[in-house]
Amino acid sequence: MSAQLPANLSEETVREISDARDEPEWLLEARLEALEALDTLELPDVIQTPGRRWTNLEALDFESLVDPLNQSDETTREAPDDVVVLPFTEALDEYGDLIEERFGSVLDLETNYLTALSAALFTTGTFIYVPEDVNAEDVKIRAEMNSRSLFSHTLVVTEKSSSVTILEGTESGDADVEGERYFSNLVEIDAGENSYVQYGSLQNLDEDTYTYSLKRGDAGTYSTINWIEGNLGSRLTRSDIETELNGDASETKIVGAFFGHNDQHLDVNARVWHKAENTTADLVTRGVLDDHARSVYEGVQDVGRDAWSTNSYQRENTLMLSDESEADASPKLIINNHDTEASHAATVGQVDKEDLFYMVSRSIPEETARNMLVEGFFVPVLEEIEVDEFREDLEELIAARLD
């Protein structure tokens, strides 16, 4: 079932967005194509268990959530000199040809209704270009959302033998917006031969905001794409992180952390396609749920017929701090080449009572002990983060939520 096209959404709207930003013709065309596709596209698939559809995207009222012409954000970008980090629109002047070639090449803009909606309407986002042999650390992008709805598109291109570590933080600004909001974030990474990308994302939007995020990477020969995804904010988050291992000896890690409380709903997904020889994937997600929060996790490792000598691992662990929280996890492994070493596992559980007693028996009050166990639970994720500021932010948010 496709969602209803909001009445305030028309070709005129899209042209107005594109004109206001003085965009090249090809981008307008791409937006209009995406708009047209909305008629036939479906919302993303969600996990269903008998009698239950865990994430109900159909229930979202896009009519009131989407206000395409009043999008507003305040985004700061810090980067070393030898790497290009520009607002998407500004980048078009100088890097128009490259962007035209790669925009939508990794992430199919018509993947589903929400990606097409995002492509048609995006007004913010970042273009990151890392030239050959450049090593860039600590690219930091911090976005504040200041409107009813905001659509963002980020494109990362790394040339041969380059490397970059990126932090993208998203939160709500001070702007006074009553009621529910919608944030859409598409990220595509085109990793060139022997390049390395760590893309860390920390979403801490206010709890009136619904978010949709699809991040997808195309890993070239000998390249590595490591994703780190932290979700603490929003009322409902649907997040998909995907890597296609297209180059021989390419690698990916998809590392996720979430911590839901109140009545937050977090639907997080990690997927990898092994399509070449000697590729490696490691999917690690750790989540904590308190109060009435719910989480849904789907992880997919797809080993293609030509993916000889594959290594692929997946682990997901959810820790429940309250009896009212709920979690569903579905790790999937599809193997079409026998030359594969793979594992996949998911657990859902509570704080271990014996662990807790051990700590309490050493004088540590129960609540402190529980908090230490929760913080410790996230350590495998924290240890993966290369941008120090990102790790510190995530630690702080976790500690603050435990208070």
Binding site: Y358, V360, S363, I364, L373, G376
Partner: protein, 301 residues
């Protein structure tokens, strides 16, 4: 001098129709004494130790556990007259620990993501805080601080607590040297990937840091090779000799008693302490076995 007094302790597994495990345990352990508690599997030794520490899996159905304190038990800290006898069964496990009860676990928990340093410093500071609160009531001067900020899973709350990072590192190093433990343990996660022997050494290390009045050590000797057994024994003797800790050592075997010589030996059978004596009782038991005790006890009855 602190005294742990267990009187007529009855307990069962805390669930519906839970099995009755303890049927009237009487035992008294004072600071500076070493007691060995022996008995066959299922006699209630481990249960006794867990109940002393406050494990929630057991329900006490009768009897009591008292801790008597005297001036000097907490160094220079004055102990008010009305805070010298405590009914442990009314206290939370962390409060019991703060008053000087320590349980060395037979199977210590392995906790990923919490470093030894963070854990032990947090424990030591929590002990000092809680003890003061128990002895003197709520501490009104110190407002609840926002601890959300300076916390790190590696180091803990940097500014939090009486014992600072530097001071603590020094203390830790001292105690580790004593136990012949490698410094690399400090940055490792609590018991995670430790060998059986390393875990037991770590239990003794924790006791050395927390300086309990009474340490209950549940089969601290199981799974140790001879070298490790000697290290651990040295640590236990040091607890008694240097800190005046009273030791209640639960064991199946005579072996450790050669290195940690007990002042008293108690034998448990079917949920009761049925026989007590001096170190020679352990040797006698080694020779004659539990059947001898059983016969003696039940014939006498």
């Amino acid at each position: 001098m602190a005294t742990l007094e267990i009187k007529n302790l009855h307990a069962r597994v805390a669930e519906e129709d839970g099995e009755q495990i303890l049927r009237g345990v009487d035992l008294e352990v004072k600071s500076g004494e070493i007691h060995a508690l022996m008995g066959p599997n299922g006699s209630g030794k481990s249960t006794t130790s867990k109940i002393i520490a406050g494990h929630p899996a057991y329900e006490v159905t009768d009897g009591e556990i008292l801790l008597h304190l005297e001036e000097g038990d907490f160094g220079d800290l004055e102990i008010p007259d009305d805070a010298r006898t405590w009914n442990l069964l009314e206290l939370e496990p962390n409060e019991r620990a703060a008053l000087g009860i320590f349980l060395g676990f037979q199977y210590p928990a392995e906790i990923e993501g919490v470093t030894m340093t963070n854990f032990l410093r947090t424990a030591l500071n929590a002990k000092l805080d809680e003890r003061e609160e128990l002895l003197f009531g709520e501490d009104e001067e110190e407002e609840e601080e926002d601890v959300g900020y300076d916390t790190s899973p590696m180091e803990g709350n940097v500014d939090d607590g009486e014992v600072g990072v530097a001071e603590f590192q020094k203390l830790l190093k001292e105690k580790m040297d004593l136990l012949d433990m490698d410094e690399k343990f400090m940055q490792r996660y609590l018991n995670a990937g430790f060998s059986g022997g390393e875990k037991k050494q770590n239990e003794v290390l924790q006791a050395a840091i927390l300086e309990p009045s009474i340490a209950v050590l549940d089969e601290i000797d199981s799974g140790l090779d001879i070298d490790r057994l000697q290290d651990v024994s040295k640590g236990i003797n040091a607890l008694r000799d240097e800190q005046g800790t009273g030791i209640l050592q639960i064991t199946h075997y005579q072996r450790i008693l050669e290195y940690v010589e007990p002042d008293y030996v108690h034998i448990m059978l079917d949920g009761k302490v049925v026989k007590s004596g001096d170190a020679s009782l352990a040797s006698e038991l080694e020779d004659k076995g539990y059947d001898w005790v059983r016969e003696e006890v039940y014939e006498a009855a």
